[in-house]
Protein backbone atom coordinates (compact mmCIF):
# COMPACT_ATOMS: atom_id res chain seq x y z
CA UNK A 1 0.00 0.00 0.00
CA UNK A 2 2.87 2.36 0.82
CA UNK A 3 4.16 2.42 -2.75
CA UNK A 4 0.72 3.20 -3.96
CA UNK A 5 0.44 6.68 -2.53
CA UNK A 6 2.72 9.62 -2.83
CA UNK A 7 2.62 13.14 -1.48
CA UNK A 8 4.25 15.95 -3.42
CA UNK A 9 5.22 19.30 -1.93
CA UNK A 10 6.15 22.02 -4.41
CA UNK A 11 8.31 24.49 -2.53
CA UNK A 12 10.42 27.53 -3.12
CA UNK A 13 12.65 28.99 -0.40
CA UNK A 14 10.82 27.18 2.40
CA UNK A 15 13.75 26.24 4.66
CA UNK A 16 11.85 27.57 7.68
CA UNK A 17 8.65 25.59 7.11
CA UNK A 18 9.56 22.52 5.11
CA UNK A 19 10.77 20.37 8.03
CA UNK A 20 7.67 20.96 10.13
CA UNK A 21 5.44 20.37 7.09
CA UNK A 22 7.14 17.01 6.44
CA UNK A 23 6.95 16.02 10.12
CA UNK A 24 3.26 16.90 10.19
CA UNK A 25 2.60 14.82 7.09
CA UNK A 26 4.50 11.85 8.61
CA UNK A 27 1.88 11.62 11.35
CA UNK A 28 -0.77 10.74 8.80
CA UNK A 29 1.14 9.14 5.97
CA UNK A 30 3.85 6.48 5.94
CA UNK A 31 4.39 6.38 2.19
CA UNK A 32 6.67 8.46 0.02
CA UNK A 33 6.99 12.21 0.37
CA UNK A 34 8.48 14.06 -2.56
CA UNK A 35 9.59 17.67 -2.28
CA UNK A 36 10.01 19.54 -5.54
CA UNK A 37 12.48 22.29 -4.86
CA UNK A 38 11.82 24.93 -7.47
CA UNK A 39 15.33 26.35 -7.59
CA UNK A 40 15.45 27.63 -4.01
CA UNK A 41 18.43 29.73 -2.99
CA UNK A 42 18.28 28.50 0.60
CA UNK A 43 18.72 25.04 2.14
CA UNK A 44 15.18 23.77 1.39
CA UNK A 45 16.58 20.72 -0.43
CA UNK A 46 18.97 19.47 2.21
CA UNK A 47 16.54 20.23 5.03
CA UNK A 48 13.85 18.22 3.25
CA UNK A 49 16.16 15.26 2.63
CA UNK A 50 17.25 15.23 6.25
CA UNK A 51 13.60 15.28 7.27
CA UNK A 52 13.15 12.09 5.25
CA UNK A 53 11.69 13.31 1.98
CA UNK A 54 12.85 12.56 -1.53
CA UNK A 55 13.89 15.77 -3.25
CA UNK A 56 13.69 16.72 -6.90
CA UNK A 57 15.59 19.91 -7.59
CA UNK A 58 14.85 22.24 -10.47
CA UNK A 59 17.98 23.82 -11.94
CA UNK A 60 16.34 27.25 -11.70
CA UNK A 61 13.06 28.76 -10.56
CA UNK A 62 10.24 27.97 -12.97
CA UNK A 63 7.12 28.61 -10.93
CA UNK A 64 4.61 26.72 -8.82
CA UNK A 65 2.81 25.09 -11.76
CA UNK A 66 5.97 23.68 -13.28
CA UNK A 67 6.98 22.26 -9.89
CA UNK A 68 3.58 20.58 -9.60
CA UNK A 69 3.92 19.13 -13.07
CA UNK A 70 7.39 17.78 -12.29
CA UNK A 71 5.75 15.99 -9.37
CA UNK A 72 3.07 14.55 -11.66
CA UNK A 73 5.73 13.37 -14.10
CA UNK A 74 7.68 11.75 -11.28
CA UNK A 75 4.55 9.99 -10.04
CA UNK A 76 3.82 8.66 -13.52
CA UNK A 77 7.39 7.48 -13.90
CA UNK A 78 7.34 5.70 -10.54
CA UNK A 79 3.93 4.19 -11.10
CA UNK A 80 2.07 5.66 -8.16
CA UNK A 81 -1.67 5.27 -8.20
CA UNK A 82 -2.65 8.20 -6.04
CA UNK A 83 -0.99 11.53 -5.57
CA UNK A 84 -1.65 14.21 -3.00
CA UNK A 85 -0.28 17.72 -3.33
CA UNK A 86 0.17 20.03 -0.40
CA UNK A 87 1.85 23.42 -0.13
CA UNK A 88 5.29 23.69 1.44
CA UNK A 89 4.53 26.77 3.52
CA UNK A 90 2.53 25.04 6.26
CA UNK A 91 -0.73 26.63 5.19
CA UNK A 92 -2.52 23.31 4.86
CA UNK A 93 -3.23 21.24 7.93
CA UNK A 94 -1.94 17.69 7.42
CA UNK A 95 -4.72 16.00 9.39
CA UNK A 96 -7.00 15.97 6.34
CA UNK A 97 -4.62 13.83 4.32
CA UNK A 98 -6.34 10.48 5.17
CA UNK A 99 -9.74 11.94 4.27
CA UNK A 100 -8.53 13.27 0.91
CA UNK A 101 -6.86 9.96 0.07
CA UNK A 102 -9.96 8.12 1.16
CA UNK A 103 -12.25 10.10 -1.15
CA UNK A 104 -10.18 9.20 -4.20
CA UNK A 105 -9.43 5.63 -3.14
CA UNK A 106 -13.07 4.82 -2.57
CA UNK A 107 -13.77 6.00 -6.14
CA UNK A 108 -15.96 8.87 -5.00
CA UNK A 109 -14.10 11.15 -7.36
CA UNK A 110 -11.00 11.48 -9.53
CA UNK A 111 -9.86 14.68 -7.87
CA UNK A 112 -10.52 15.70 -4.27
CA UNK A 113 -9.94 19.34 -3.43
CA UNK A 114 -9.42 20.56 0.10
CA UNK A 115 -11.59 23.61 0.53
CA UNK A 116 -10.96 26.17 3.24
CA UNK A 117 -14.45 27.64 2.98
CA UNK A 118 -16.40 24.61 4.06
CA UNK A 119 -14.84 24.38 7.48
CA UNK A 120 -14.52 26.65 10.43
CA UNK A 121 -11.02 27.47 9.38
CA UNK A 122 -8.95 30.32 10.70
CA UNK A 123 -8.21 31.34 7.18
CA UNK A 124 -8.62 35.02 6.40
CA UNK A 125 -8.16 36.03 2.80
CA UNK A 126 -7.32 39.58 1.88
CA UNK A 127 -10.08 41.79 0.48
CA UNK A 128 -9.02 41.58 -3.15
CA UNK A 129 -8.35 37.89 -2.95
CA UNK A 130 -11.82 37.20 -1.57
CA UNK A 131 -13.36 39.11 -4.45
CA UNK A 132 -11.23 37.12 -6.88
CA UNK A 133 -12.26 33.83 -5.29
CA UNK A 134 -15.97 34.79 -5.38
CA UNK A 135 -15.66 35.73 -9.01
CA UNK A 136 -13.99 32.51 -10.08
CA UNK A 137 -16.48 30.47 -8.04
CA UNK A 138 -19.24 32.03 -10.13
CA UNK A 139 -17.40 31.49 -13.38
CA UNK A 140 -16.70 27.84 -12.59
CA UNK A 141 -20.29 27.34 -11.61
CA UNK A 142 -21.53 28.95 -14.84
CA UNK A 143 -19.24 26.94 -17.06
CA UNK A 144 -19.24 23.57 -15.35
CA UNK A 145 -22.31 23.62 -13.14
CA UNK A 146 -20.15 22.52 -10.20
CA UNK A 147 -20.19 24.33 -6.89
CA UNK A 148 -16.51 24.64 -6.14
CA UNK A 149 -15.98 26.95 -3.18
CA UNK A 150 -12.22 27.12 -3.20
CA UNK A 151 -10.85 27.17 -6.74
CA UNK A 152 -7.45 28.45 -5.63
CA UNK A 153 -6.76 25.57 -3.28
CA UNK A 154 -3.44 23.83 -3.79
CA UNK A 155 -4.43 21.04 -1.39
CA UNK A 156 -5.61 18.30 -3.73
CA UNK A 157 -5.60 14.57 -4.19
CA UNK A 158 -5.58 13.08 -7.69
CA UNK A 159 -5.86 9.58 -9.04
CA UNK A 160 -3.50 8.29 -11.70
CA UNK A 161 -5.78 9.13 -14.59
CA UNK A 162 -5.96 12.76 -13.47
CA UNK A 163 -2.29 13.42 -12.79
CA UNK A 164 -1.27 11.60 -15.95
CA UNK A 165 -3.60 13.95 -17.82
CA UNK A 166 -1.62 16.89 -16.40
CA UNK A 167 1.79 15.68 -17.54
CA UNK A 168 0.68 16.87 -20.95
CA UNK A 169 1.79 20.26 -22.31
CA UNK A 170 -1.74 21.64 -21.95
CA UNK A 171 -1.26 21.97 -18.20
CA UNK A 172 -1.25 25.73 -17.49
CA UNK A 173 2.09 25.96 -15.74
CA UNK A 174 2.09 29.67 -14.97
CA UNK A 175 -1.02 29.78 -12.77
CA UNK A 176 -2.78 26.45 -12.30
CA UNK A 177 -6.03 27.44 -10.66
CA UNK A 178 -9.68 27.85 -11.69
CA UNK A 179 -8.68 27.05 -15.26
CA UNK A 180 -7.44 23.64 -14.13
CA UNK A 181 -10.82 22.83 -12.58
CA UNK A 182 -12.59 23.76 -15.81
CA UNK A 183 -10.08 21.71 -17.78
CA UNK A 184 -10.66 18.69 -15.53
CA UNK A 185 -14.41 19.03 -15.81
CA UNK A 186 -14.31 19.25 -19.59
CA UNK A 187 -12.08 16.18 -19.77
CA UNK A 188 -14.75 14.31 -17.82
CA UNK A 189 -13.07 14.00 -14.43
CA UNK A 190 -15.15 13.92 -11.30
CA UNK A 191 -14.25 16.60 -8.79
CA UNK A 192 -15.22 16.74 -5.16
CA UNK A 193 -14.52 19.18 -2.38
CA UNK A 194 -13.58 18.21 1.14
CA UNK A 195 -13.63 20.73 3.98
CA UNK A 196 -10.17 21.37 5.36
CA UNK A 197 -8.51 23.86 7.67
CA UNK A 198 -6.06 26.35 6.38
CA UNK A 199 -4.19 29.13 8.07
CA UNK A 200 -3.08 32.31 6.40
CA UNK A 201 0.51 31.90 5.37
CA UNK A 202 2.62 31.92 8.57
CA UNK A 203 5.22 34.21 7.02
CA UNK A 204 2.48 36.54 5.91
CA UNK A 205 3.54 36.16 2.32
CA UNK A 206 1.39 34.53 -0.28
CA UNK A 207 1.53 33.77 -3.94
CA UNK A 208 -1.10 36.37 -4.61
CA UNK A 209 -0.26 39.68 -3.07
CA UNK A 210 -0.17 43.35 -3.91
CA UNK A 211 -2.65 45.20 -6.06
CA UNK A 212 -0.75 44.84 -9.32
CA UNK A 213 0.08 41.21 -8.74
CA UNK A 214 -3.59 40.47 -8.11
CA UNK A 215 -4.79 42.48 -11.11
CA UNK A 216 -2.27 40.71 -13.28
CA UNK A 217 -3.34 37.40 -11.78
CA UNK A 218 -7.03 38.10 -12.51
CA UNK A 219 -6.21 39.08 -16.07
CA UNK A 220 -4.10 35.97 -16.63
CA UNK A 221 -6.78 33.75 -15.14
CA UNK A 222 -9.50 35.18 -17.36
CA UNK A 223 -7.26 34.71 -20.35
CA UNK A 224 -6.39 31.19 -19.31
CA UNK A 225 -10.04 30.24 -18.80
CA UNK A 226 -10.88 31.73 -22.17
CA UNK A 227 -8.09 29.76 -23.83
CA UNK A 228 -9.22 26.59 -22.06
CA UNK A 229 -12.72 27.14 -23.42
CA UNK A 230 -11.75 27.77 -27.04
CA UNK A 231 -9.44 24.77 -27.13
CA UNK A 232 -10.82 21.34 -27.79
CA UNK A 233 -11.21 19.42 -24.54
Amino acid sequence: MGKDRCIIIPSYNEEKNIVSVICDIRKYHDGDIVVIDDGSQDITSSAAIEAGAFVIRHPFNMGYGVALQTGYKYAVEKNYNILLQIDGDGQHSAKFIPELFNQVESFNCDVAIGSRFHAESQYRAGFLKSIGIQLFRKIIWMITGEKITDPTSGYQCLNRKAFEFFTNDIFPCDYPDANVIIMLHRAGFKIREIPVEMTSNPDGRSMHRGFFTISYYLFKMFLSIFVTLIRKP
Binding site: I36, S46, F54, M62, K73, D169
Partner: protein, 116 residues
Protein backbone atom coordinates in the same frame (compact mmCIF):
# COMPACT_ATOMS: atom_id res chain seq x y z
CA UNK B 1 11.08 59.64 -57.05
CA UNK B 2 13.96 62.01 -56.23
CA UNK B 3 17.36 60.63 -57.05
CA UNK B 4 18.58 61.02 -53.41
CA UNK B 5 15.74 58.80 -52.24
CA UNK B 6 16.58 56.20 -54.84
CA UNK B 7 20.28 56.15 -53.99
CA UNK B 8 19.56 55.98 -50.27
CA UNK B 9 17.04 53.12 -50.63
CA UNK B 10 19.31 51.06 -52.87
CA UNK B 11 22.23 51.72 -50.55
CA UNK B 12 20.23 50.65 -47.49
CA UNK B 13 18.92 47.46 -49.09
CA UNK B 14 22.36 46.44 -50.29
CA UNK B 15 23.81 46.97 -46.80
CA UNK B 16 21.01 44.83 -45.31
CA UNK B 17 21.71 42.13 -47.88
CA UNK B 18 25.43 42.06 -47.17
CA UNK B 19 24.93 41.99 -43.39
CA UNK B 20 22.44 39.09 -43.60
CA UNK B 21 24.58 37.02 -45.94
CA UNK B 22 27.58 37.58 -43.70
CA UNK B 23 25.62 36.54 -40.63
CA UNK B 24 24.49 33.36 -42.34
CA UNK B 25 28.02 32.68 -43.58
CA UNK B 26 29.45 33.04 -40.06
CA UNK B 27 26.67 30.83 -38.68
CA UNK B 28 25.38 33.63 -36.47
CA UNK B 29 21.99 33.44 -38.16
CA UNK B 30 20.24 30.24 -39.18
CA UNK B 31 19.13 29.97 -42.80
CA UNK B 32 15.69 29.36 -41.39
CA UNK B 33 15.47 32.98 -40.23
CA UNK B 34 17.49 34.59 -43.00
CA UNK B 35 15.01 34.17 -45.81
CA UNK B 36 12.52 36.65 -44.36
CA UNK B 37 15.19 39.32 -44.05
CA UNK B 38 16.65 38.61 -47.48
CA UNK B 39 13.16 38.94 -48.87
CA UNK B 40 12.85 42.38 -47.25
CA UNK B 41 16.05 43.60 -48.85
CA UNK B 42 14.95 42.17 -52.19
CA UNK B 43 11.51 43.80 -52.06
CA UNK B 44 13.10 47.13 -51.15
CA UNK B 45 15.35 47.02 -54.22
CA UNK B 46 12.46 46.00 -56.48
CA UNK B 47 10.28 48.86 -55.25
CA UNK B 48 13.06 51.38 -55.78
CA UNK B 49 13.89 50.21 -59.28
CA UNK B 50 10.29 49.65 -60.34
CA UNK B 51 8.60 52.79 -59.11
CA UNK B 52 5.39 52.09 -61.04
CA UNK B 53 4.82 49.00 -58.94
CA UNK B 54 4.92 51.14 -55.81
CA UNK B 55 2.43 53.57 -57.37
CA UNK B 56 0.19 50.66 -58.30
CA UNK B 57 0.33 49.28 -54.76
CA UNK B 58 -0.40 52.73 -53.37
CA UNK B 59 -3.46 52.97 -55.55
CA UNK B 60 -4.49 49.43 -54.67
CA UNK B 61 -4.53 50.02 -50.90
CA UNK B 62 -5.98 53.51 -51.26
CA UNK B 63 -3.04 55.40 -49.83
CA UNK B 64 -2.29 58.93 -51.00
CA UNK B 65 1.48 59.01 -50.81
CA UNK B 66 3.79 56.20 -52.01
CA UNK B 67 5.84 56.75 -48.84
CA UNK B 68 2.79 55.76 -46.77
CA UNK B 69 2.65 52.47 -48.67
CA UNK B 70 6.28 51.80 -47.85
CA UNK B 71 5.70 52.55 -44.17
CA UNK B 72 2.55 50.45 -43.95
CA UNK B 73 4.27 47.46 -45.45
CA UNK B 74 7.31 48.00 -43.25
CA UNK B 75 5.11 47.99 -40.14
CA UNK B 76 3.17 44.94 -41.32
CA UNK B 77 6.43 43.16 -41.94
CA UNK B 78 7.69 44.02 -38.44
CA UNK B 79 4.46 42.75 -36.88
CA UNK B 80 4.87 39.46 -38.76
CA UNK B 81 8.46 39.13 -37.56
CA UNK B 82 7.46 39.90 -33.95
CA UNK B 83 4.66 37.32 -34.13
CA UNK B 84 7.01 34.77 -35.62
CA UNK B 85 9.42 35.33 -32.73
CA UNK B 86 6.60 35.10 -30.18
CA UNK B 87 5.62 31.71 -31.60
CA UNK B 88 9.23 30.55 -31.52
CA UNK B 89 9.64 31.76 -27.93
CA UNK B 90 6.49 29.90 -26.84
CA UNK B 91 7.82 26.69 -28.34
CA UNK B 92 11.27 27.24 -26.81
CA UNK B 93 9.77 27.99 -23.39
CA UNK B 94 7.92 24.70 -23.43
CA UNK B 95 11.01 22.86 -24.58
CA UNK B 96 13.20 24.42 -21.88
CA UNK B 97 10.59 23.58 -19.24
CA UNK B 98 10.31 19.97 -20.36
CA UNK B 99 14.08 19.62 -20.57
CA UNK B 100 14.63 21.05 -17.09
CA UNK B 101 11.97 18.75 -15.67
CA UNK B 102 13.63 15.79 -17.35
CA UNK B 103 17.04 16.78 -15.99
CA UNK B 104 15.60 17.26 -12.49
CA UNK B 105 14.01 13.81 -12.59
CA UNK B 106 17.18 12.15 -13.95
CA UNK B 107 19.38 13.90 -11.41
CA UNK B 108 17.11 13.33 -8.40
CA UNK B 109 18.39 9.86 -7.46
CA UNK B 110 22.03 10.98 -7.50
CA UNK B 111 21.32 14.13 -5.53
CA UNK B 112 19.40 12.34 -2.77
CA UNK B 113 22.13 9.72 -2.44
CA UNK B 114 24.64 12.47 -1.65
CA UNK B 115 23.02 12.85 1.74
CA UNK B 116 23.04 9.17 2.69
Amino acid sequence: MPIQQKVFAIFASIIIFIVIINLVKNKKLKEEYSWLWLLTGFVMIILVLWYDLLLMLTHLIGAVQPTTTVFIFAILFLICIALHFAIKISILTDQVKNLSQKISLLDAERYNNLFL
